[in-house]
């Protein structure tokens, strides 16, 4: 589904992405882990189109998306959630997801009909909300939701664009154990239906969910393998020795 090949990106003297190559298999939950400063944010930026790579290619579902602008990546089938909840705070939860649905329901140069009454938009939206367990909060203003609910909303919005692959940027960020469990369940339900690229710090979650893991250190991919193999990989262990981010 996703093939990253020899990706390079530097910011002045800082080499943020260093000859990175890995593949994500269709239907997999593929996790990217690595210590802080490993270049995960830069990688996401290049995958979503917000950052332009210096060299290398990104093949998504067979298509080279390296030069494709941000708003078109969604059309290709790549959806992302944000690490810091990036929702429409002043609109209702329902509106948030409906907008995501609207983005893929043809053009929006419709000037007359009331969009809040269009079943074509509202019904799928409420279904996606149900998928993440937020259907009871549909009419609430999104800004009023709890942090955990924001993360759920993030996923609902990404799902609403009917993606082929979901890029989840630290979905567990700032969540307590119970809230994390809710998200893990959502993701487990999505297994096989979607390809998921998961950037995460929380090792428990990663090892529970991931089919394959790529380890990123200093912009470079030091290993890509199944979870069990990664656990035993010498290079990985060395990279994490003394690393405080390993949640027990």
């Amino acid at each position: 589904m996703l093939k990253v090949d020899s990706l390079f990106k530097s910011f002045g003297a800082l080499l943020a992405t260093d000859n990175l190559s890995f593949q994500v298999k269709k239907g997999d939950i593929h996790a990217i882990i690595g210590p802080n400063g490993a270049g995960k944010t830069t990688l996401i930026g290049q995958l979503t189109g917000e950052i332009e790579s210096d060299s290398g290619s990104i093949l998504f579902d067979g298509n080279n998306i390296s030069g494709v602008p941000v708003h078109l990546r969604s059309a290709h089938g790549l959806a992302r959630s944000f690490q810091i909840s990036n929702i429409f705070h002043d609109m209702t939860t329902w509106d948030n997801v409906a907008l995501a649905v609207q983005a893929h329901a043809g053009h929006s140069f419709h000037f007359w009909k009331n969009a809040s009454q269009e079943q074509e938009l509202r019904r799928p939206a409420i279904e996606f909300l149900a998928m993440v367990g937020l259907e009871n909060r549909a009419k609430f203003v999104a800004g009023q939701l709890s942090h955990g609910e924001h993360r759920q909303l993030e996923i609902a919005m990404a799902l609403a664009t009917n993606p082929k692959m979901l890029l989840l940027d630290e979905p567990m960020a700032g969540m307590g154990p119970k809230e994390s469990q809710a998200i893990v369940k959502i993701l487990q339900n999505l297994k096989r239906k979607l390809t998921i690229l998961l950037i995460e710090h929380d090792m428990d979650v990663v090892f529970t969910l991931a089919d394959r893991i790529t380890v990123l250190v200093n912009g470079r991919g030091i290993a890509t393998d199944i979870p069990d193999a990664i656990k035993k990989n010498q290079k990985v262990i060395a990279a994490y020795l003394g690393e405080e981010s390993y949640h027990a």
Partner: protein, 333 residues
């Protein structure tokens, strides 16, 4: 329908505006018809600005330029009709059509360049472009230059309405205001409106979910400019005078003030704001010659303290009212 204070206020305001000419005639004070007529015209301008500023978050500091375009279509047409005998150029329908066409084109060009920028750049660039057109008008000797053009007749609407009568012009303005309010209402609730509002709320997210934000904002920009151009046509007829100052950047500033004062991103806010602004101006200039000495700081204070504008205060009033009413109901039960 709930009788909340806010709704009552708005209804009274709109009804009030509707009967001004009748009252003015009754009390034999035609001056008020003219004064309120001006409020109506500026309300239309503010409603159009609210589309992009209030709902879209685009701080355009050059919106008065469309008032200028509309005004000059009337001015130029009427001038040729009177001086050169080309009668059809004074035709109101033609002038409105030309105003629409040129406002749309201007909006398209200015928007296409400005909307590629954000934040301060956008503000400054829209300001600069409107000032550019102001200078073009000032330098244009043929059509009055700095002194402007006097209109010897108002636009001719083929007998459909005779706007040489101040009351008729008033009602034309009123009808167009109602139409723009209705259009505004439909627009902001439509899919198109959702995109514009979403872009104001979180542009990055809009792009991430797949919206090509630029083209929608450009269309909104053009629509807003076009409606304002129509207001310009009305304005020229109202004052029977056209000069570049109608599109000076301080006029754009006035429009922004009206929109913010009334309440950004609300349907009737612009009308409330325009009325309040002009009332304040009338009132203060009646008291002292140096009214801007007070108006300026007042503005600063409104900005700092009354974030939601007058409409925001009304909403607050509503909340207070509903809390008190609920208590009363419980007592009865």
């Amino acid at each position: 329908m709930k009788g909340t204070p806010r709704i009552i206020f708005i209804v009274i305001l709109m009804l009030g505006l509707g009967v001004v000419p009748l009252l003015a005639d009754y009390f034999d004070e035609p001056f008020y018809t003219v004064m309120f007529s001006r409020m109506l015209i500026l309300s239309i301008g503010a409603v159009s600005l609210n589309l992009i500023l209030g709902f879209g978050g685009m701080v355009s500091f050059g919106h008065a330029v469309y008032l200028g375009i509309g005004s000059y279509m009337v001015g130029i047409g009427t001038m040729h009709a009177v001086e050169d005998g080309i009668e059809w150029m004074a035709n109101g329908f033609l002038q409105i059509t030309l105003a629409i066409v040129f406002s749309a084109l201007t909006g398209l060009v200015i928007g296409a360049i400005s909307l590629r920028t954000r934040g301060v750049y956008f503000i400054m660039i829209t300001l600069a472009f409107s000032q550019m057109l102001y200078f073009v008008a000032v330098g244009n000797e043929r059509y009055g230059g700095d002194d402007g053009l006097s209109l010897y007749m108002r636009s001719d609407f083929n007998g459909l309405i005779d706007i040489t009568n101040d009351n008729s012009l008033y009602y034309l303005n009123f009808v167009i205001l109602l139409l723009s309010l209705y259009l505004s209402h439909r627009l902001i609730n439509s899919r198109f409106g959702m995109v514009i509002r979403g872009a104001k709320s979180n542009e990055q997210r809009m792009r991430a979910i797949g919206f090509p934000v630029f083209r929608y904002q450009l269309v909104a920009f053009v629509i807003a400019g076009t409606i304002c151009g129509i207001a310009g046509v009305l304005s020229a007829n109202q004052t029977e005078f056209v000069n570049p100052s109608v599109m000076h950047w301080t006029r754009s500033g006035d429009l922004i003030i009206m929109t913010v004062l009334g309440g950004l991103g609300t349907l009737f806010g612009p009308v409330i704001g325009a009325v309040a602004f002009l009332f304040l101006e009338e009132f203060l200039s009646g008291i002292t010659e140096y009214w801007q000495l007070y108006f300026g700081p007042m503005l600063v204070l409104v900005v700092i303290f009354a974030r939601g504008g007058i409409d925001g205060m009304l909403v607050g009033l509503d909340k207070w009212w509903s809390r008190n009413s609920t208590v009363k109901n419980e007592e009865i039960d």
